[in-house]
């Protein structure tokens, strides 16, 4: 049960302010909410990327908890080493503290969907007691907005630019949460920062489940997506209400859609809020818009089917 906002406001900031992320950036909100979801001591591992670069410029650090970064593609492997060290030292009686230590990794979609997928898959399969949180902003933002396998169809990025013969990224995004669920780990959740209660409930479950957990969290990038910083949470809400980014979880193989919008809004309402999709509203791109809507609908139906199938008694 997530604590009240009043109580949450009194909790220690495990990622302090003063880090150098842009105004209106999603990842600091993801990290703060996830780390507020447990009172236990935590150790954080961070993939190379915006979160790492903005929070750790030597000799400063924004982290009030033990934190390790080593490379881009290996965060899950590196944290699995930390967690194994903990189990080893604990077993040998070299750690006297009885409080359980929680292990959590943060990586962007580039470090998670793409270059870090192998290390992530390995760590999940091995069953380490850790949670991996992907802050998904749908492109390689730290290197300057290049397309990743999380980039949605039609997005304008620096490596899938719009042009006379291009409407932006051609391929639909990879369904990472489903890939993680296929590892048969105890907990997989997909969440968004505009719904703190849902996100923090999922983070709590991820910390407490017996074995590895994975969270995929929607984390807009104002620079890469092109929006006014003050609109970040509205954009998240539109993504969820259009079913472009459904909130769901897979607990021990059972799928549950945590939020079903009363009225599913057209995905165009979400796309319109960001300059990366601006070109789609020019004449000639009607088919692409229809294709995006179709893709969203197909995935939403599929999600509802997974829920129905796995909840059959």
């Amino acid at each position: 049960m997530v604590a009240s906002l009043k109580e949450l406001a009194t909790r220690e900031d495990r990622l302090t302010s003063g880090h150098r992320a842009c105004a209106g950036c999603g990842f600091p909100i993801v990290i703060k909410m996830v780390l507020m979801s447990t009172d236990d001591p935590v150790v954080v591992a961070n993939a190379t990327g915006c979160a790492e670069v903005c929070t750790s410029i030597y000799p400063y650090t924004a982290w009030n908890v033990p934190w390790i970064h080593s490379a881009f593609e290996n965060t899950a492997a590196s944290l699995s080493g930390v967690e194994s060290a903990y189990r080893s030292l604990k077993k040998q009686g070299k750690i006297k503290d009885d409080r359980p230590i929680r292990f959590v990794a943060f990586g962007g979609d580039g470090g998670t969907y793409d270059i870090g997928l192998q290390a992530l898959s390995g760590a999940m399969e091995r069953g380490h007691q850790l949670m991996y949180v992907c802050y998904d902003n749908g492109a390689y933002m730290n290197t300057g907005i290049q397309r990743s396998s999380a980039t949605p169809i039609g997005a304008n990025t620096t490596t899938s630019p719009t042009g006379k013969k291009s409407f932006g990224k051609v391929q639909p995004r990879k369904d990472l949460a489903a890939i993680m669920a296929a590892h048969n780990i105890p907990y997989v959740g997909q969440a968004s920062i505009h719904n703190h209660r849902d996100l923090m409930t999922k983070a709590e479950k991820g910390f407490k489940c017996d074995g590895p957990a994975f969270l995929n969290v929607f984390a807009p990038c104002r620079l890469g997506w092109g929006f006014d910083p003050k609109n970040i949470l509205d954009i998240c809400k539109l993504a969820v209400d259009s079913c472009m980014w459904p909130l769901f979880e897979v607990e021990n193989g059972v799928w549950k859609v945590n939020y079903k919008p009363r009225t599913k809004i057209p995905v165009a309402d979400y796309l319109k809020t960001q300059t990366r999709f601006r070109h789609l509203f020019r004449p000639g791109n009607e088919e692409v818009l229809a294709q995006i809507q179709e893709d969203v609908d197909r995935r939403w139906e599929r999600l509802l089917e997974m829920e129905a199938i796995t909840n059959k008694k």
């Binding site: 001591p41 935590v42 150790v43 591992a45 790492e52 670069v53 750790s56 410029i57 030597y58 000799p59 650090t61 982290w63 009030n64 908890v65 033990p66 934190w67 390790i68 970064h69 080593s70 490379a71 593609e73 290996n74 492997a77 590196s78 944290l79 699995s80 080493g81 930390v82 967690e83 194994s84 060290a85 903990y86 189990r87 080893s88 030292l89 077993k91 040998q92 750690i95 503290d97 409080r99 230590i101 192998q118 290390a119 898959s121 390995g122 760590a123 399969e125 091995r126």
Partner: protein, 400 residues
């Protein structure tokens, strides 16, 4: 290596891989993370049996790649654990990125490496192209002639890596198949002796000290990166005396004494071969044969390649008239192998430089018979008699 005082009856027949795995069992690391690769696989396989029999306290992390093996070992070391892995060839190449991160972040990791040729073409047999490719990764590199040296070097490596003045990872090499799979008599120490020699691991800033949080591996820009690299350089400078100090201590418990290199019949030698690892055995045999024939032949076997003991090598070789430098790897600089380049540079400041020739040999496991080493010494004798070194870079045992 000094003459052993123990009787042969106290030794055990072991392969190189068995000797390294035995050393790892005695070290009893907190964490071992590894991925199989020929010919190093057996080390972790044997260690896994020790683990399965409850003979070690180690958490064994059987990762999905060598990149993840080194990453997990880095994580474990940062957490506050004594952590090890073992690999070879392609595995070492896949770790390449993480080798620099392990050393640059100053994690005292120890890794046995079984030398094997790098692809392409694919080949599983011995040469030194794998670890020579990692020579500038900021690790200490110690090469072993045989299983005994491999065993002794791994135990000493723990002390070297964890030394307060060092805090740099160490890789310990044996030759693939020739040593890793060759059976020989090995003298091991008892468990208690090894454990008191290495002592408990004392991490400096462990992540698991949750009440004193540290950030490790931050981004380090123009204002500090250079200073941190300079500190790493200073640590490498300090490694040589530390290696010698630990070797001294190790000699007391084992009767086996190590240096930065081994000099064999070198004091009055006029011609000498400089060699690394198992080919030293063949070279020593040829030196003995030549000495019986009245030829002043000698050998220098390099143990520590990183840091490179340049001054000590120059001192040891200054009186030799002609030197053959044996490289079991070609740097493909079109100027000879890596050992040749560095050794020539080490000799450059001598008032009277020996004549040097490079021999690239044994690539991809090509055998190095006695006759080949004899031909090298014959070339050296010709060099001495004519005063001309001839072709600078030569190939031994290859079809032209």
């Amino acid at each position: 290596m000094a003459v052993n005082k123990q009787s042969a009856a106290e030794s055990q027949a072991m392969t190189g891989n068995e000797a390294l795995a035995e050393a790892m069992r005695q070290i009893n690391p907190d964490v071992v993370a590894a991925y199989p690769i020929t010919p190093a696989t057996e080390i972790v396989q044997i260690f896994s049996s020790f683990h399965a029999d409850g003979l070690v306290d180690t958490e064994l992390v059987l990762v999905e790649s060598e990149h993840s093996a080194m990453s997990a070992v880095i994580g474990a070391s940062a957490a506050g654990a004594r952590a090890m892995t073992a690999t070879s060839s392609q595995g070492l190449a896949l770790m390449h990125e993480m080798l620099y991160i392990a050393s640059g972040s100053r994690y005292p990791i120890v890794m046995p490496v079984v030398n094997r040729a790098l692809s392409a073409p694919l080949n599983i047999h011995c040469d030194h192209s794998d670890t020579m490719g990692s020579r500038d990764a900021g690790w200490v590199q110690i090469y072993s002639e045989n299983a005994q040296e491999g065993y002794d070097n791994v135990i000493q490596a723990i002390r070297i890596a964890e030394h307060n003045e060092v805090q740099v990872p160490v890789m310990v090499m044996i030759d693939g198949f020739i040593i890793s799979h060759g059976m020989e008599n090995v003298f091991t120490l008892d468990d208690q002796t090894v454990r008191s020699f290495i002592g408990p691991f004392k991490p400096r800033f462990p992540l698991l000290d949750v009440d004193n949080p540290v950030s490790v591996g931050p981004v380090d820009f123009t204002d500090f990166y250079f200073e941190h690299k300079r500190q790493h350089h200073e640590a490498m400078v300090k490694v040589k005396p530390v290696i010698l100090e630990i070797a001294e201590e190790y000699a007391k418990i084992s009767g086996r004494k190590y240096g930065l290199f081994e000099e064999y019949m070198l004091d009055d030698a006029e011609v000498a071969v400089v060699v690394i690892s198992s080919a030293a055995g063949t070279t020593r045999y040829v030196v003995d044969k030549l000495r019986r024939a009245g030829v002043k032949a000698g050998m220098l076997k390099l143990r520590v390649f990183r840091p490179f003991p340049a001054e000590e090598l120059a001192e040891a070789l200054q009186h030799v008239k002609a030197i053959a430098v044996m490289d079991r790897a070609d740097s493909l600089s079109a100027q000879g192998g890596p050992l040749f380049a560095e050794l020539r540079s080490a000799l450059f400041d001598l008032p009277k430089r020996p004549l040097t020739t490079n021999y690239i040999y044994g690539l991809g496991g090509r055998d190095v018979p006695v006759a080949d080493i004899e031909s090298v010494f014959n070339d050296l004798l010709t060099t001495v008699s004519t005063g001309v070194a001839g072709p600078k870079v030569r190939f031994l045992g290859v079809r032209e």
